[in-house]
């Protein structure tokens, strides 16, 4: 039930936004995420944007993943 999906914010008017994912658009409320700007990726849960997605942090997690994959382990 805590499912949330990252979508791109393509338009906003005050507290109301339009978010898009794979050609599907949804109306989302920005009440919980007023800082979200058009163009940003937001995490959407039950009709509300609950966070903006930080690309730099996403890359850091990816780097941790790559580091683990590159770990030198004796066979």
């Amino acid at each position: 039930m805590c499912l949330a999906v990252p979508m791109q914010l393509v338009a906003r008017r005050e507290w109301d936004g339009t978010a898009e994912l794979g050609g599907v658009e949804r109306q989302v409320s920005l009440m919980l995420c007023p800082e979200a700007q058009v163009g940003a990726y937001v995490l959407v849960h039950a009709g509300y944007a609950i966070a903006t997605v930080d690309a730099a942090e996403a890359r850091k997690t990816l780097a941790i993943l790559e580091e683990l994959l590159a770990e030198d382990v004796p066979e």
């Binding site: 039930m1 805590c2 949330a4 990726y41 039950a46 009709g47 609950i50 930080d54 997690t61 683990l68």
Partner: protein
Amino acid sequence: MRTGGAFSDRTTVEALVRRVAERARRLERQVTFMEVCGTHTHAIAACGLRRLLPPRIRLLSGPGCPVCVTPVDYLDRAEALAALPDVIVCTFGDLLRVPSSRGSLERARARGCDVRVVYSPRDALSIARDHPSMRVVFLAVGFETTVPTVAAVLAEAESERIANLRILPGGKRIEPPLRALVADGEVHIDGFLLPGHVSVIIGADAYAFLGEELAVPAAIVGFAPADILLGVAELVQQVLDRRPRVANLYASVVRPAGNRHAQELIARFLEPVATRWRGLGVIPDSGLGLRAAWAHRDASRIEVAVPEPREPQGCRCGEVLKGVVEPPACPLFARTCTPDTPLGACMVSSEGTCAAWYRHDRAGAGTAA
């Protein structure tokens, strides 16, 4: 932006499984890691992670499915409210088929009660706006991910003066059950995979007590297979190093302090109260009830006759939710209790531990009925 590709890629997942297995070889004993999020339960089962991991690592599901932990008396009350002629009950779909003492909301709807499935609490607000002569009751079940959306709708209802919207408070906090599970000690937990989207709201710092106070390893993780494996690798490392801490591996959306706007809205409308969890009993401060100022929004104040709560005989959902037993240990599992004819709450939602096992893990467990 989400790096979904790499995190779901098969080659990456296989390589990660090998890395985790290599790390696990250094463990002195079997370790048990628990996730406490229905979306994780579902993700782990759907991608068959249990079968990929070495036997030294046991993944357990905890009380993370909000529908599953909601006690039967909540459903009985919802059903009684639905039976009132001037009430429309709005609910997330998951709750519809959970057995109550006498039936379910689905059966109440079949009898003619006005029960509507909504995707967002905002839909309940629209329904209230459209039906001013009816009392519209939203079944506010959920963890801290969902709770702020309910608070936001209450704020809208107040500012727009939509008087006929109420909620039946059923929101839950994650910290008290985590503490209860560790204190209870019935299952020794070597680490927690923490719920990614709850963490978006409460923040990574909210779990400091796990590392500092309870010395339990913990990792906040996302929901792709690689996210979860990354978390498992981190937990193994913490066990090996004997250095429990809270690792935030979902920092793209989880900030140290969480979502302040959401926290403020929750605090404006709701306050921690003692509440009952299926399986765990009453835990102090683990629920979120309406503050006294908003009593006019509280559907639990509407007087209805509620029957003596009755759980299905033989059902072991309570123990499954604590991780004490796995679903195949229940005498009803896959025999009389199936996703088509659920007897226990954990068999209803696709996020329920029993439903997830039924669909994905029966063959691997070798305990299929």
